[in-house]
Amino acid sequence: METQNLDTIIESRGNDSSQLIGILQDIQAEYNHLPVSALMQVSETLKIPFSRLYSIATFFKAFSLEPRGRHIITVCMGTACHVRKAPRIVDEVCRSLGIKAGQTTADRLFTLETVNCLGTCALGPVMVIDGKYYGNVTVKTVGALLKKYEKI
């Protein structure tokens, strides 16, 4: 791990507890998850007990202590998507990839996450892959979408 990057992230936000979640988010954006070594360094630099960082990292849904896949699939489970059959979409992704929500495929290609609401209810059911939104997804179109990303 390049400690240089990590220092920049911490420095850019200063020693300010209101920015702590932001720091962890930036680290996750950089490393794809929260590596323990990075948390150690944050703990040392900002003089925050490691236990507190661990409790934050496990309390908030946005953080992952495990390495995630190359492609992050996020299926929106908001109420509007739910009534438009989002659960069937999750089922289909799970079936196709052989994982459960929150897990990563053995080849580290895909991680499946669910989110409470993305606020793009007009497009529901919505699935986001690597930040790109796909609206009005059907059980039938899931397969083709996944295939597209397998090759990238």
């Binding site: 507890s17 209101s18 920015q19 702590l20 979640i21 932001g22 962890l24 988010q25 925050i48 507190r52 409790s55 934050i56 309390f59 908030f60 849904k61 946005a62 953080f63 489970m77 908001g78 109420t79 509007a80 739910h82 009534v83 438009r84 059959k85 069937r88 089922d91 289909e92 079936r95 989110v115 409470n116 609401c117 993305l118 606020g119 793009t120 209810c121 007009a122 497009l123 529901g124 919505v126 939104y133 609206g135 059907t138 059980v139 039938k140």
Partner: protein, 616 residues
């Protein structure tokens, strides 16, 4: 450029308006998250490139704006001054829009909105029922401004309320004005804003904070995102006025992790406001000083609760505190803290500019002003709608929303997110305001309005919300942590066909305990979706428990897909599509489903062109 006085602001506004008049045609492209997901950025780029190519630079102004609200039809393009609305615009439509409409003055028929009720094509934005019946006091500016340019906001009259409050009113007068306006918190509780400000102002302490709660966690609600993203300065202006009234010099905007564009636009807005001298030291040369920081959430629903949000701001896991100490007295870092939600803050400049009496003229006895709802789910016109408090639910669902698609029957309207409830179809004529929704067993919440049709299973809806809350309960108090889990277990059992007599009564008993003994509002309101579905849709529970049937065809364990002999033409498409190879049949003969292999994924029903496959 620093603005020191109201006169300077007014002068700048006039100059900006004169500048704007130079453009003969103004093209407004919605660049909210919804339209961006439909490719709005590509459309904006195409307009810029094509305008340059066609040599239209001087007379045409092209602008990506805040969310227009009609998300169903994205990407939305409005051509001013005529107000022509083109919907579902793609980059390939752009050259034609420029040559035919902008230059030639012709209307492109295929890009017009078709009213789902009358099937008529509508040319002008103002004639579309979705917009016509709204009263857009807060959202009105969104389609005209580029949220990343403070000058647009100033041109529309922005920061004049701040100038007025700071230079012509005392802090007490500002509090009194907001109090008289009758504004109630738009985040869910509906607490009178002015009273909250007053309590915070009077609380002992040297330092005070104001917070903007943009941790909009209710699934199906996105009005706060749209405001913060589409018109961040209106929120910021409200906060600065509030800080002046309360006597705070520091503020935070706590934004949800899932709203990256809102974070970006709010950050830009703060920078620009600082450059203009609306934030920082000596604002409007009055000696008043105020600064705002942005804090991002971490994807925890509970952090929308005020004390949990403040705990999270202190750099700790966001768990709520007991309510015998109010955050207005001891909040962030134990200091008096006034927290309001995005929409509440955005109302403040309106009240200061137009006066409390003007504001009071809109709304009902107990709920003043307008409310933005996100009208979503099984509805024709999905989007954000801003209406006067007290508009009948029917007018919102049918008048603005255009009713339920596919000729299906409306079953219920869910409001208030996981803390709210389901209002049944027979209460459709109810006027919508804080008190009426509470009376119906639901609540206003932040304004999500999810429309449910006959294909929505109400037991499943209750289960959905409890499942949501099970994950989001912070675990600090037992009634919420365990109670929700136990209720969910029972509902799971019911949906899986293992419900037993007495389950419904037991659910009611647990619900009451959780409601009365939880520490914070998350637990206290958690049983609402369950209780309202039990109250209004008791027969669906009976069908699940006693008859082991799901009338809406949703609960997988209680349904089976079947192919209609009459409708099936034996094309074989379903058999080909089935991932479990559960469908067999000879060509041109009726196919059958092997129920041992069927996983009930529903692909077959989606595939069949003859609508021969249905769940029952």
């Amino acid at each position: 450029m620093r603005i020191e006085s109201i006169q300077e602001l007014e002068k700048l506004r006039k100059t900006l308006l004169n500048e704007m008049k130079k453009a003969k045609t103004r093209i407004r492209i919605c660049a909210g998250t919804g339209c961006r997901a439909c490719g709005a950025q590509e459309v904006i780029d195409a307009f810029r490139k094509e305008a340059e190519k066609q040599g239209l630079d001087l007379g045409v102004e092209i602008k990506g704006t805040g969310c227009h609200g009609f998300c169903e039809r994205g990407t939305l393009v409005v051509i001013q001054p005529k107000g022509i609305l083109y919907q579902t615009v793609k980059p390939e439509d752009v050259p034609e829009i420029l040559s035919a409409t902008v230059e030639g003055g012709e209307i492109i028929d295929r890009l017009l909105y078709v009213d789902p009720v009358s099937q008529e094509k509508i040319t002008y934005e103002k004639d579309i029922p979705f917009y016509k019946k709204q009263k857009r006091l807060l959202l009105g500016m969104n389609p005209d401004i580029d949220p990343t340019d403070i000058m647009d906001y100033i041109a529309c009259g922005g920061y004049s309320a701040l100038g007025k409050a700071l230079t012509q009113m005392t802090a007490e007068e500002v509090v009194a004005e907001v109090k008289t306006s009758g504004l109630r918190g738009r985040g869910g509780g509906g607490f009178p804003t002015g009273t909250k400000w007053e309590t915070c102002r009077d609380a002992p302490g040297d330092l005070r904070y104001v917070i903007c709660n943009a941790d909009e966690g209710d699934p199906g609600a996105y009005m706060d995102r749209s405001l913060l993203e589409g018109n961040p300065h209106s929120v910021l202006e409200g906060m600065i006025i509030g800080a002046y009234a309360i006597g705070a010099n520091e503020g935070y905007i706590y934004v949800r992790n899932e709203y990256p564009l809102a974070v970006e636009n709010a950050r830009k807005a703060i920078e620009e406001a600082k450059e203009c001298g609306f934030l920082g030291e000596d604002i409007f040369s009055t000696g008043f000083e105020f600064d705002v920081k942005i804090a991002r959430g971490g994807g925890a629903f509970i952090c929308g609760e005020s004390s949990a949000l403040m705990t999270s701001l202190e750099g700790k896991p966001g768990r709520p505190k007991a309510k015998y100490i109010h955050t207005v007295k001891k909040g962030l870092w134990e200091r008096p803290t006034n927290l309001n939600n995005v929409e509440t803050w955005a109302n403040v400049p309106l009240i200061i500019n137009n006066g409390s009496q003007w504001y009071r003229a809109t709304g009902t006895e107990g709920s003043k002003g307008t409310k933005i709802f996100s009208l979503v789910g099984k509805i024709n016109n999905t989007g954000l709608v801003e209406v006067p408090m007290g508009m009948p639910l029917r007018e919102i669902v049918y008048g603005i929303g255009g009713g339920v698609p596919g000729g299906k029957k409306l079953k219920a309207v869910q409001t208030g997110g996981p803390s709210g409830g389901c209002v049944p179809e027979d209460l459709i004529d109810m006027p919508v305001d804080f008190d009426q929704l509470t009376k119906a067993g639901s609540m206003m919440g932040s304004g999500g309005m999810i429309i449910m049709d006959e294909n929505t299973c109400m037991v499943d809806v209750a289960r959905y919300f409890l499942n949501f809350l099970k994950d989001e309960s912070c675990g600090k108090c037992l009634p919420c942590r365990e109670g929700i889990k136990r209720m969910l277990e029972i509902l799971n059992r019911i949906c899986e066909g293992r419900g037993v007599e007495g389950d419904v009564a037991l659910l009611g008993e647990i619900a009451q305990t959780v409601q009365e003994t939880s520490l914070c509002a998350l637990g206290g309101s958690a049983p609402n979706p369950l209780l309202t579905t039990l109250k209004y849709f008791g027969d669906e529970y009976v069908a699940h428990v006693r008859d082991k049937k799901c009338p809406a065809g949703i609960c997988k364990d209680l349904i089976a897909y079947a192919i209609s002999e009459e409708k099936c033409n034996g094309c074989g498409a379903c058999a080909k599509a089935c991932p479990s190879k559960a469908i067999r049949g000879e060509k041109k003969k009726t196919h059958v489903i092997d129920h041992d292999l069927c996983t009930k994924c529903g692909i077959c029903a989606e595939t069949c062109r003859k609508q021969a496959i249905a769940a029952a």
